[in-house]
């Protein structure tokens, strides 16, 4: 019998695709995350993110305990940036309960959040370079700066990463003058580190060749997929909740929102560098203007804390994007009836496949690195 001639219109060599499971144990999936990738040679032709390995039932747990008891659990969402997580929950609860936060507390919140942002961004760039194969050198440089900030957090809250620092109506502990001086010192020295970082990285040929035109996220897709944070801004979406909502005292500071044009990995890298520079500006202003006064609203009784029935959504600009909590309080008011978290990492991850298709395996890991995920937040 004559062999059937199969119609291959392209005339290409018919190669067999292989399915590779990248993760959950893989050096560069940033935790227990899995990507089911279909490869044609080195090129990715299909990719499916698989998550849930770190699911800890965060929302259900929060619905079984008091409002206050959830704050330590939010630390574990995005364990890199516990301060902004705290703030998001506190902001939602304060909105729901109608609590007014004193000036000083607002300023302290801005200071710790912006410190968290530069901590997160510098480390993300470090991790991304690690994925690029730079043997952790940039990462360790970033960690050197991170240590200084974490030292401040430790003296402030008693913990380096799981700070559990904010309370409804303010913060738990006041920032002493010594700590303010420490923060000023960090902020004063940080631009030098950024310059060094940029000098080493931003014009490195290999980095440019690896990052430019890789993992492009178009503006329309970014808007439609409700991408937020630096990732959306790198695609040119002018959306920063600090500007949109002007929550806290952000309306008083003078800072700009950098926007990218192309939306590739390099834009995501560089937008983070620029955002760090803007954060330094905010920090300088906040530390200069830090008013005296109460650091927590005196009228708020945290013991036996109750919220009248109603619902509300509060959101902050976390380093990774829009972090919001939707809360419903019913008659009892002692604990949430419904507690929903909008994690930025999880939603930013949904466009991973669109960004990765057609690129090489090596690009997938840096695209994932540029998305900036923390699995504690993705899986909750």
């Amino acid at each position: 019998m004559i062999q059937q001639i199969s119609p291959i219109p392209t005339g290409m060599i018919e190669t067999q695709t292989i399915e590779v499971s990248i993760g959950p144990q893989h050096p560069s999936t940033h935790g227990v995350f899995r990507m089911d990738a279909v490869l044609d040679g080195e090129t990715v032709v299909g990719l499916k993110p698989v998550m849930g390995y770190l699911h800890r039932n965060h929302e259900q747990l929060a619905e079984r305990m008091t409002w206050l008891a959830s704050i330590p659990y939010t630390d574990r969402l995005d364990y890199f940036n516990s301060m902004t997580n705290n703030w998001a929950l506190c902001l939602s609860v304060e909105k729901l309960a109608g609590i007014k936060v004193p000036e000083r507390a607002e300023y302290i919140r801005v200071i710790v959040s912006e410190l968290t942002r530069i901590l997160n961004h510098s480390c993300v760039i470090g991790f991304m370079l690690q994925d690029l194969g730079a043997w952790g050198t940039p990462l360790l440089y970033a960690f050197r700066e991170r240590e200084k900030i974490l030292d401040l957090f430790e003296s402030l809250s008693g913990a380096r990463m799981m700070c559990n620092y904010m309370r409804f109506g303010g913060v738990r502990v006041d920032m002493t003058d010594a700590m303010v001086a420490q923060a000023k010192d960090i902020v004063a020295k940080f631009p030098r580190f950024l310059d060094e970082f940029e000098q080493l990285l931003s014009n490195n040929e290999v980095l440019l060749a690896r990052c430019q035109k890789v993992g492009i996220l178009p503006k329309e897709l970014a808007i439609n997929a409700s991408i937020s944070g630096p990732m959306a801004r790198a695609s040119g979406v002018d959306y920063d909740i600090r500007k949109v909502d002007k929550y806290g005292v952000y309306g008083r500071f003078d800072f700009r929102v950098p926007l990218g044009e192309v939306g590739d990995v390099y834009d995501r890298y560089y937008i983070r560098v620029l955002e760090m520079r803007e954060s330094i500006k905010i920090l300088n202003q906040a530390l200069r203007d830090l008013p005296a006064g109460a650091f927590v609203a005196p009228e708020v009784k945290l013991r036996n804390f109750k919220i009248p029935p109603g619902d509300g959504y509060g959101r902050v600009e976390a380093p990774k994007g829009e972090l919001g909590f939707y809360l419903v309080s019913d008659e009892g008011g002692k604990m949430p009836y419904r507690y929903h978290c909008r994690p930025p990492s999880f939603i930013n991850l949904t466009t991973l496949e669109d960004m990765c298709l057609g690129h090489k395996v090596a690009d997938v890991v840096i695209i994932l690195g540029s998305v900036d995920i923390v699995l504690g937040e993705v899986d909750r």
Binding site: V20, S28, G41, G133, A209, D238, L259, L274, A362
Partner: protein, 388 residues
């Protein structure tokens, strides 16, 4: 080998004839299997220390003073680790791959001269032998990757084969330039050809324009051939875990490491021999101790090459597979072919000062054009705007 034989043949006048020959054969072998693995062991330590310094940390400092016993501890640990073979693996090939990984690397040292007349084997096809042997190392990578029945290993194996085969070409062509200038394939003759006017430094090939280009080409090729960062894509840990040796543990893994490092050291040695004047240096003609001084110069240069490798490893990100291939075929290959033509020009131009200028101009121009062509359209300068 011959040198040792001549040296000791007189001492064994009344003894059986085979004795000096056996000793002359045994000494280089013992030297190669004794000294170079020791260099390997301490290279790993120096590498970890140096990388630590690059990265703001100390590096190993717990085992012995300054971590000096760390290589021993590592070796012991790897020896006592469980040897895991995947169930579906091709057992025999899986076993054979690490063994084959070491053999070519050790054989490479056979042609590296360390002092005047002191080379384990003075082959008249020296450099060709080195290239023939080093191609064989790719088989070990392929066998290891294929036999593991792991998709990451297979990807690593394919990458390794493609990379080593591609970089072989510019490397060989860069060496051809040296062979043309020296007029011999023998490594001893190549080193001898680098003396000029009784000076041991002025004649190094690296100080001539074509030699410098050849040195850069060869060093890049050697780095790619031994899969070091920024060309470590066959074992890119952030992409394909560990590439072809993902499924290796215990001493088989150690053998892979040994083979890889020995190949890197041997390639550094060949680079030194071909471009940096091998053992040449001031004072090698002093009677009695001249040989030791020569060996000192050789190992000093070898150490510098190794440190250069480590430095690059600590500071450069990794390139992508297609970029790697494009670099080899679009930049290195034209450069190396041009380099051969330039050596011919150099050879036939009488006035060496003029020749220096002309060849430097040709090569510089070619490099600028190639860099422009290869970079065009890929890298752009970006400006960022701010929202209102």
């Amino acid at each position: 080998m011959e040198t040792i034989y001549q040296l000791i043949a007189g001492w064994f006048a009344g003894k059986p004839e085979w004795l000096p020959l056996a000793i002359a054969i045994a000494v280089p072998i013992l030297f190669i299997v004794g000294v170079y693995p020791a260099i390997f062991a301490y290279t790993t330590l120096v590498e970890r220390k140096a990388l630590g310094r690059v990265q703001n940390r100390y590096g190993p400092n717990r085992v012995g003073r300054w971590g000096i016993l760390q290589p021993l501890a590592d070796g012991l640990k790897l020896l006592t680790k469980e040897d895991i073979v995947p169930r579906d693996a091709d057992k025999f090939t899986h076993f054979l791959a690490p063994v084959i990984a070491v053999i070519p690397s050790v054989l490479l040292f056979a042609i590296v001269p360390i002092a005047p007349g002191l080379v384990p084997v003075n082959l008249n096809i020296g450099i060709l032998f080195a290239f023939a042997i080093s191609t064989a190392s790719v088989l070990a990578l392929f066998m290891g990757g294929w036999a593991s029945r792991n998709k990451f290993s297979l990807l690593g194996a394919m990458r390794a084969v493609a990379q080593v085969v591609s970089y072989e070409v510019p490397m060989v062509l860069a060496a051809v330039a040296v062979v043309m200038a020296a007029g011999s394939l023998s490594t001893l003759d190549i080193v001898k050809a680098q003396t000029r006017g009784g000076l041991e430094i002025a004649g190094w090939f690296v100080f001539q324009p074509w030699g410098f280009v050849g040195f850069v080409l060869f060093a890049i090729g050697a780095m790619a051939e031994s899969a070091r960062t920024p060309f470590d894509i066959p074992e890119a840990e952030s992409e394909i875990i560990a590439g072809y040796h993902t499924e290796y543990s215990g001493f088989k893994f150690a053998l892979f490491q040994l083979g890889e490092y020995l190949a890197a050291i041997a390639m550094a040695g060949i680079t030194v021999t071909m471009f940096l004047g091998g053992y040449l240096g001031p004072g090698i003609h002093i009677p009695y101790i001249g040989g030791f001084i020569a060996a000192f110069w050789f190992f000093l240069k070898l150490g510098c090459m190794i440190l250069l490798n480590i430095w690059i490893r600590g500071t450069w990100p990794r390139v992508r597979v297609d970029q790697l291939m494009g670099f080899a075929w679009k930049v290195l290959l034209p450069m190396s072919i041009l380099n051969i033509a330039v050596v011919g020009l150099w050879h036939f131009m009488g006035n060496k000062v003029l020749a220096w200028g002309v060849t430097a101009a040709i090569l510089g121009l070619a490099f600028v054009i190639l860099a422009k062509i290869s970079a065009a359209g890929n890298i752009e300068k970006r400006t960022y705007r701010y929202a209102n």
